[in-house]
Amino acid sequence: MEAVAAAHQEHWTRLVATLIRLTGDWTLAEDCAQDALATALERWPRDGVPGNPGGWLMTVARNRALDVLRRAATEDRKLRELALTTDPPAEPDDRLRLIFTCCHPALALESRVALTLRTVAGLPTSDIARAFLVTEPTMTRRLTRAKAKIADARIPYRVPEGDALGERLPGVLAVLYLLFNRGYDGEPLLADEAIRLARLLNTLMPTDPEVSSLLALFLLQHSRRHARRDTNGDLVPLDRQDRDAWDHPAIDEAVQILRRTPVTGPYALQAHIAACHATAATPSDTNWPDIARWYDELARIQPTPVIHLNRAVAHGYAYGPTAGLDQLATTKDIRHSYPMVIAVEADLTARTGDTERAKALFHEAAAASEDGPERRALLARAEELT
């Protein structure tokens, strides 16, 4: 039933987050939220959708939790029963503490990712297992271990305050970023979830510039999802993509977000770079000097090989292939571990007019790449140079 599916999307996180605060029991919280939704699936088609679906689900889930606690005679049962029966109806929003607890740095990164998908996003364990190419029992064990560590080591259920918030937020954003990239590389479910989670985080922390920027970055990258691959599944380079196939409402939304968000960190810089590409009507309309400037800043705060490489590409387009090759010289030491460096050198060399050398470089890059669409694209470039 559609209303139940919508209720799952809208209310799952709040249901689970509140039940965890009241009972301290993660598995009980998930089970009761699941039960409440199952009950809705049974009742709503017959009795009609209640006026306040979220409130209805919360009541059913709380009663279910009470039932379970009354039957299990645990020591702190009375305490938890009391919390469940006396919590004021206008409870605070617990969703942010749920997110911060799932992303606690004392948990392994793979556990943080799995827990965020299961508990915050409400994805079935089987789907998460499939997305990460492990069996369902393996994923179940991973989730169980993570929940046990939260309980045993007493990882607090709260949003960090003051300096601690600034220290912990990048870790939360890194989990979403990993999810999105995993989705971008071929598991669309994860990209959609990452965007949904970024939207939720942006609603809960509307004044944090890096949170808003991360959402904008996701929207911009995701806007190319229907144009990134050709019918063979091969990657289509940005300058050859059908720009009409880009998701323009998503691009507009991202641009609006960036317009009102100050640039304070790496996600804002990446989002501005993505926006320069996304707002160019044709490849030749791309504002490369702006992109080169954003990359200069990004390379200052995150001097990674990949960023230096992209910076060289941007300088190549902004100020000519020789300027690009000069920048590329700073990445010499990584030439052997990143075939992309050779590919970029090949592209820049081709544009200087040295076709012979460019051709040899494209072949060298192809030989260093793994067999697949990337290698095919490099060989195709070599063939074009005659």
Binding site: R154, I155, P156
Partner: protein, 109 residues
């Protein structure tokens, strides 16, 4: 919540020499706050004796039971509200800068 804090050396050469805290200050502060319930420096692992009972017989081995390069050089018992507080206390210990610290919660069975 009680945590056992194992204070260990580290085989990795990298250390953090910036603003290394003073151990006397660390002990005094955490004792005063009631967070540090006990703790001490341990004698070298060469003074360790490993004890096992097998087949009714007491078997002794000279030395620690694991031959690792990292050595437990001390311990502290912490009483903290939660893991975040314990992490803050551990990160303020000089050996977090020179070595490594393992926080183990009491299982409280």
């Amino acid at each position: 919540m009680k945590y056992m804090m194992f204070v260990c050396t580290d085989t990795e050469p990298e250390t953090d020499e910036s603003r290394v805290p003073d151990i006397e200050v660390w002990v005094a502060e955490n004792d005063a706050a009631g967070r540090r319930r006990d703790g001490n420096v341990l004698a070298s692992p060469t003074a360790a004796t490993t004890v096992r009972v097998r087949g009714g017989e007491v078997l002794l081995t000279d030395g620690p039971f694991t031959e690792t390069k990292e050595v437990i050089v001390g311990f502290d018992i912490l009483e903290c509200a939660d893991l975040d507080e314990a992490i803050t206390v551990a990160a303020a210990h000089p050996m977090a800068h020179h070595g490594r610290i393992e926080l183990r919660p009491y299982a409280d069975l």
